[in-house]
Amino acid sequence: MRFGERRVFNGVDVDLGAGGFLLVTGANGSGKTTLLRVLARLTAPSGGELELPERHAIGYLGHEPHVYRELSPLENLDLFGRLYRVPERRERVGMLLERFGLWDVRRERVGSFSRGMQQRLGLCRVLLHEPRLLVLDEPYNALDAAGGELLDGLLAEPGPARIVATHEPRRVERLALDRLVLA
């Protein structure tokens, strides 16, 4: 994969079935983010073949939680729920907010949240449309302890195929079925 003159990574083969769990590790700058973006249909690969689910069946969480700071969690999830055509939007939004401990603050401005809470909202957003493939780029980075536990729980339960990049693999190692190390 290259951007103009800069080759980011080369010769990566990924094969992930339904329910699979791929752990991507590597030092900073090894191209984890780029790889994940390619796998989330956000960046076009410069070569090779790609077979991915439809873009709306993918849930991507990058280094930012991708939520609007001036809106409330409810407004954010309502907007994304509409755009992603989520059925029974209200119920689903409520269920996710509750699960991630954001129900009480659902009407407050996201900008006033801690980084950990924003990241939790990001997780809600990513799960909102029940994607078949979850692509999470360093999800533990911004999470607080409680959030980390919630994410552990989420990753442990069966569900969509998932690709998680982290530079602290110890946490999810036992769950991962596959591992890819980028040099």
Binding site: V38, R41, L42, L83
Partner: protein
Amino acid sequence: MTYAADVAALARKDLLLELRAKETLPAMLLFVLSTLTVFHFALPRGAGGLAALGLLWVAIVFTALLGLTRAFVAEREQGLLDALVLAPCDRSAIWLGKAVAVLAFLVAAELVALPAFAAFFAPVGARTIVAVVLADVGIATVGTLLGAMAVAGRARELLLPLLFLPLAIPIVVGGVGASAGGGSRYLAFLALYDAVFAVLSWASFEYVVAEA
């Protein structure tokens, strides 16, 4: 039907964002008033209403630039385009929703600019008002697309004026011509500009924000 709903949801989002942040619109209003004031001092004695009219259009274009530079700030800072682009909705809905919101801001700015101009310099006729509305549509459509482009690069605030100004020249010609009594062909020209560039922007926005 869902396309319209998407556009409405997105436009509502943009208007809400501005309502809460209260950054861009007040800045635009203040900017337009300050600019008109500067123009008073910049015009030589006896310059006449026509020269002032030209400056009105300069003020409109540069105030618009101020607003456009802020248009995609939220999306850029929080990486939101990644989330929006993966949605099943048509990507052009993002453009249209944003353009509608930008148009609303421009109209709001003009609601201050035109009366101020009428008070400072010369009365403003119906032709001028129609021209301003048509021009705002053109600015909103083209500017929103260019704003998305500028935001993807490194030199954002520098880049947008450079991309936008050449495209704004026809708007200024149409606007000045119409407001200075040049006949309805200038209004027709503005309408043509709007139609052509709206279609072009609508069709090409997808390629500006999404890669894969």
